[in-house]
Amino acid sequence: MSLDDWLIALHLLAAFALVGAILGFWAMLVAGWRTDRPGDVQAIFRLGPYLNAAVAIGAVGTLALGIWLAVSLDAYEVWDGWVIAAIVLWIVVAAAGERAGAEYARAERRAEELLRAGRDGPSEEVRSLVRTRRGLALQAIATVAAVLILADMIWKPGA
């Protein structure tokens, strides 16, 4: 395998880590949707750090290796339209994903506060924080942008 082959393979693995984690967050959101007990919310959010690690590896890996590939391969340039589109969409994924995470972190923090106070009964406040519409919208934007990056990578419009 040449260096470019390795770059493509690692770029693809990074993309799988990023999209895998984004879809994993959806599983957490669906599981949390009907939850109003702080203990249950805390249990679900224990998955968060693992998915955040996958997002970090995937986000850095896709961008860095993608730009390296665009420079290395003769067929493409960093300023090709489809490459620029992918970078813009990557920024959308990162920004929307980070803000969605901040929204859901409020629910996690409140659940922890209630548990520390010895209150694990149903909580309307925790329920509404887990069901944040802003968080849901940001997560949807990050997901759609990630799917668009995948389509852009495969169809390569203008290439």
Partner: protein
């Protein structure tokens, strides 16, 4: 940047194949991790099992359908197919078998959760899911790098 130059009519089956594979890996990553870290917490065990059922299984079906479609488009016949293709097929089928066994064991485990049992079955489900995940990551590497 999945491939350099390819005919346009390969793009849709490739997109389907990759979307399915990403859903499969997402389900295994989420399900396997949730089951492995649950420490008996029913909410996290259910999240893990249903991630395998609702993400990994449909993802495997979509990935496999896309693989057959693009295999047909690319004109492979089974004679002298490249090594990366062989790796893909072996891992795909063996991983699919592991996934089905994991889902059966986990199904019994989830049913027993209400009676305070099932955690050993779900631990076995986690182990199988994580083994399948490692296999599929090797397959992704082979599909991307296309080793001889």
């Amino acid at each position: 940047m999945f491939a350099a130059i390819r005919p346009d009519d390969w793009d849709l089956p490739l997109f389907l194949h990759v979307v399915g594979a990403m859903l499969l890996v997402a389900g295994l990553l989420t399900g396997g991790t949730a089951l492995a870290i649950a420490r008996g917490q029913a909410r996290l065990l259910r999240l893990g099992y249903f991630s395998l059922l609702a993400m990994a299984l449909p993802g495997w079906i979509i990935m496999r359908a896309g693989a057959e479609w693009i295999y047909d488009k690319e004109g492979f016949s089974g004679d002298d197919d490249p090594a990366w293709l062989g790796i893909g097929y072996v891992v795909s089928d063996a991983g699919g078998l592991l996934l089905v066994v994991a889902l059966i064991l986990g199904g019994f485990g989830v049913r027993r959760l209400g009676r305070g049992g099932g955690s050993r079955l779900l631990t076995a489900t986690a182990v199988l899911a994580l083994i399948a995940l490692v296999g599929y990551l090797v397959a992704v590497w082979a599909m991307g790098g296309k080793p001889d």
